[in-house]
Symmetry: D2
Subunit: 345 residues, 4 copies
């Protein structure tokens, strides 16, 4: 079985494993106060062009999302996001478990717009009994989205301005950030993110690391006491240096970008193969996740050799989207085999 | 200004005020453990035909909803409701503040269906990664709904069966229950509610009392330790007998039903007046809330003499729904005056 | 049975009942935005000598405590209080249910000191791993305390200064405030409270009202969005004017003070009776709660005619404290009868 | 600087690093549903003599504690623990952040007793107004305790019986379990834990792993839906196999026990060195943490070469406890050097 079901089927990039081996018997302080973490923070600040940013390392995405959101919101506030947003759908209500409503906006492709955000805020504050409703307190977007789509710089700017107009911070979930940064046509850089977001994170788990997400906070108001939140939400790794060592390796040079580009390039090969068979897509993704709409027969044929995400019950009712993912670890030969099998469909 | 903006503009029915005066200097135990509460519980059990039901008195609706829901759910569970449900829209995220997601279903008129509930549950449990999503743990319906519409017995039965099929309790918010029970065409009784719901409440605040909601729990699993929840959520009134005395009065005879019928009858007069002017309605309400769709001019004309709920920004964009409420306290002469002014529109 | 078990065994002061009767059929806006509430706010601001204070009315004490505390704290913060504090012992963990730890300090009589507060804060911030511990974020004191004891102005000032030194707000629970203000030897006024506390409340439930607590917020940072919190925590009474009407009556003249003085005077009679029998007290209370230490026999003798708080299991083990309360409603003749029965012990 | 400040200063045991390298490019399912996790579960069930136990792998201790406790408690319940318990002191209120009070019991050495637990429960349920207090809902003990002390089998049995008598589950925090199991004089086995606890965890982070805690649930009521809780609390590692691979290695043979014994043996050398200098201890620890009471001068002398936990402010006031830890990674030669320096004090 060749696995394309997600982007976390393997361990870590070999350079990361070597770094972990090399440093294994070093003695360091715990909880992220070691020199590897400090060095990794420096590297990330530099790449983001933001010398003042606070950088924190957490273990996983759900943990990061709920920690950042709970730290930013007051009890009567909620977080705006696309109805398809990870925090709204696939985190078992982690945000609600911290006491906050997710204010979901309709979205066809995983993105939301500045216009939607402004409309929601305006509607809230002009209501006579606004105190009976959850106050919008943060905007959450993911980039790439859960559907593989990307914001462009103009859209990001507009959202940032909408947030500023209503005094609410913008949080960008970059669980798959590398695959977005290196996608064809992308015009957003790490520096842009540092400029337009109040807080965002650079995903490691899905982009070369064993695990780990690097939270970058540029808004001073959100920096205060952030380590308390990490600890309280269970995200403060005792051997914090494991996170520092991994991000040191990813950002010491262009490793993070190179392995992301690799995944995107292979994803485009798969995309092209489906396109050539005139198989439609649920979303026009330019990143490492592809969502072709397959018939039950097509899905079953491919499922003999490959694992990929699908909902069999849906497929039985008619053509339905499935998901193929590439990653930093995907082998060219496996993609070629898949392409060849797509051509035979 | 004659007020039709809501059903809580006056104090309490005179008989209730007299009862409170009469008993004022009695000395009783606190926290609902007095004889008035006990008597009121007996009366309600009797009317519900449910000798085993637990009956608790709380002060207000939001408090009641969050207490019942938080008591029933496990941390990973959410509550299914119509997207227009009070808990989803107008309680400042009180349910989320107890840690739970509201699983909102689309609804044109405020009602949801057994089919929707079953579909949501089925989709949840057949998903490969259901543990990444909030588990449906309770169904919340309001009757009358926030839009004045009513469930019929068949619909209620079907919802009850859907709930039982998935092992999740059914909770009915009866903040305006009287106005539903006495509405023309209604075929649901208090006994039906006791039979088909696991827990429901009989609203007093909007139906004759100064304040107060009577929670009726028929499901044994939900009875345990309920008084702890009331206390923790701030709903245990020190002078609990105030609630008992009020519900004693409402259910000592048919007062609750009579005053509800009064409000419904006056609401139908208002409805008819709008209908005769061929003014459409947002919802086909048979209860004490009416939602005609008015032009800005119509609304402004009526607003000179009457207060009613409206969104002026919406009205400026085009015809929009407004809300007129009657209640146990509405005066016939005020309704006649309003009817006459509607006729002049 | 003559009841001395608590200070909420009767309804409300007759003047309050009359005011509720008189205003019963008035039509007003809901949720505390009516003229009675506005007037009551004005009266309270005036008595507190604080024209800028925000005043909010809530129904009960637990509700008020959890709403104020949850509104003031950030998620990683806790509230300092005496280990005997109401929020720590008798609110079913309402504060913890909003996500916050109660940081309990030892206390012999229900009071805590500025020295204790400073020591706790200093210890926290000088700890190497302070981020692993709950940050002190508010100080809660009750006055009178749960044991009937009182702070003097010097103690209050010192606590206020300690709070300011660490940048944490001071919250005073005045559930029985009247009985403190009018106690012999008390040197604290409402104006002092407005000056030294960031937020405090004037208890109505136990001092003449049917129910109701008036929260006075003088710290600007705590004023923002407070009505959202009231709504979310279930404390926003639909017929908010019921609270306004009651506090109007209590503060229209000196009613609140007069009825409090009545209760204190009667409590001193009871105290003196026990003292004359050389019966010791658990706490030296100058307010309406008295805690004599009785033998099992004494307690059983008095229990034939009077209800009062006691722990029978404790009494069986040896002399134990019991509690007698007077209130605005206590009748002189009942106290005289009790005094006479104490003399016969 | 030679580090004795904690037991997580290095990475992982070399065999674990080799296993991670060896398996790095394997493709597996995510979220702990891979074969390594399944195998590790089997190994642990076997060592615990409990074929029916559910075994889950989480990343860290705070995360594990809050997940287990939040999963077990109802909203009105709290968790009993020693006042020195990790959840009460060093987890930034993580338990309270899930809505629950920690019911702290006094403890001189980190242990609590069956007698204390029974007294607390009895006092709760015999109180007239028990619904106003947090209900005891779980007992949390750590073994070894935070002070290095150990329960013996008789004590554990008695606590287990007390819990059963009141129907509340027993949870044992085994963050340093190996160091307890292998301590001189210990008479508790993994099988005993499976028998007497409802849920416990086997710590990996501090005992040879990079990170990871293995939760063993033997009480059927606690097994249901546990994976939802892990996900909601942010503890479900995407590459779950990393946990499986590590515990496979630790329990494939006696590695976990052997490396624990190593740490205990070295700790006893340090203990003996202090004893021979007649330096007293804060607790009589038989495990890998030692708490000698040093003068400021002694502490400063040792601090030139060694890092260890201390509170300098306390030491300046007089002799105070400090903490030296050994671990699976501690080098014999470093301990010998320390011993020699202790002898020179």
């Amino acid at each position: 079985m060749i696995r394309f079901e997600c982007d976390y089927t393997e361990g870590a990039h070999p350079r990361i494993m070597e770094a972990l081996m090399r440093t294994n018997m070093e003695q360091t302080k715990g909880y992220g106060e070691d020199e590897h973490c400090e060095h990794a923070r420096e590297l990330i600040r530099e790449k983001c062009g933001s010398a003042d940013a606070d950088v924190h390392f957490l273990v996983g995405g759900t943990q990061t999302n709920m920690t950042v959101i709970a730290a930013a919101l007051r009890p009567h506030q909620g977080v705006i996001c696309a109805e398809s947003g990870h925090i709204n759908v696939h985190e078992t209500g982690a945000v609600e478990a911290t006491g906050h409503k997710v204010l979901a906006l309709p979205s066809a492709d995983g993105k939301i717009t500045a216009v939607q955000i402004k409309a929601l805020c305006e509607e809230h504050f002009q209501d006579d009994s606004f105190e009976h409703m959850v106050q919008p307190g943060m905007v959450y977007i993911s980039n790439p989205t859960e559907n593989g789509t990307l914001y462009n710089k103009k859209e990001l700017q507009a959202i940032s301005e909408a947030c500023k107009a209503y005094g609410i911070p913008l949080f960008l979930d970059g669980a798959r950030l590398g695959y977005g940064l290196m996608a064809e046509g992308n015009d957003i850089t790490l520096q842009d993110l540092a400029q337009y977001c109040d807080v965002f994170y650079i995903g490691g788990t899905k982009v070369g690391a064993l695990f780990g997400e690097a939270v970058v906070i540029t808004n001073n108001a959100l920096k205060k006491d952030f380590r308390y939140y990490i600890k309280q939400k269970g995200g403060m790794l005792a051997k914090g240096r494991l996170l520092g060592i991994q991000f040191e390796e990813l950002f010491r040079d262009d490793l993070y970008m190179e392995i992301s580009a690799h995944a995107d390039r292979l994803a485009m090969k798969i995309k092209k193969a489906f396109e050539e068979k005139h198989i439609p897509f649920a979303y026009d993704s330019v990143t490492n996740q592809q969502f072709p709409i397959l018939t039950y027969e097509m899905a079953m044929t491919l499922a003999k050799k490959y694992s990929f995400s699908m909902n069999e019950a849906e497929l039985k009712k008619g053509p339905a989207k499935v998901r193929f993912c590439t990653s930093w670890a995907t082998k060219e030969e496996n993609v070629e085999e898949l392409v060849s099998d797509i051509q035979k469909l």
